[in-house]
Amino acid sequence: MAFLKEKNLTKKFYLICETILQGLKNTDLYDKEDINGKCKQVTAMKFKSKQNARLYCKEMKSNDKVLVVIVSELLEKKKNQKNQQKEISLIEKVATYEYELY
């Protein structure tokens, strides 16, 4: 959260959250990062214009079938259009995270 404030990305983050919560599809802001079979639940919030940062998330469903998006890892700057080893490792790392929902 400190990063979002520092880089003046709070409003964009709020916009992305609202887009998700309202069920709107906008792959420029939020999209799957299922780069391989292991990463099916991994998604990314994209901050393209300023910092080109990514917030890698894990999508899960609670017991009462509510979709929960857990922001897991921050990539401060994505430097290439195609995922490089750094991004691939981060995405795969997020895929291994396990969360217990209450």
């Binding site: 309202q22 995270y97 396990e98």
Partner: protein, 139 residues
């Protein structure tokens, strides 16, 4: 890795703190962009149906592909002229509907007696069923 995170109140408070820093103007801007995204999601679905690239869409309405990207990224707001152009080139027609929300007033329940005096309720006094012929529900 197993993350057993129970500090939900802390998370909620951090989010509140973060979003409370946004001004009224910021919130209105986000609302405007969400409204725009409602149109854009329909436009994008139609674009895919037509098999057009975004570059092609931009060319059709005589704008740049980067402008289209800026719209989808929420960095610029669409105007109605551009929307009308898109409608025309794509053969789309937007239909506007209003979300139905309940706007009536919910009145507090205040039953009245015929004599114009409000009913008041009092706790039932302990009584044995067999000896109690009349239970005073209301006075």
């Amino acid at each position: 890795m197993n993350t057993n995170y129970t500090k939900s109140e802390e998370i909620q408070s951090a989010f509140d703190h973060l979003f409370n820093s946004l001004s009224e103007e910021d919130l209105l801007d986000v609302d405007a962009k969400i409204l725009m995204f409602r149109f854009l999601s329909l436009i994008d679905a139609k674009r895919e149906e037509l098999g057009w690239s975004r570059k092609e869409l931009a060319a059709q309405i005589k704008t740049s592909p980067s402008f289209i990207s800026q719209l989808f990224q929420g960095d610029k707001l669409i105007n109605f002229t551009t929307l009308a152009k898109i409608q025309k080139v794509m053969g789309l027609e937007f239909e506007i509907t209003q979300k139905r929300t309940f706007t009536g007033k919910v009145l507090p329940y205040a039953p009245k007696s015929e004599g114009g005096i409000a009913w008041t309720y009092k706790t039932l006094e302990k009584c044995e069923k067999s000896t109690c012929e009349f239970i005073p529900l209301a006075v």
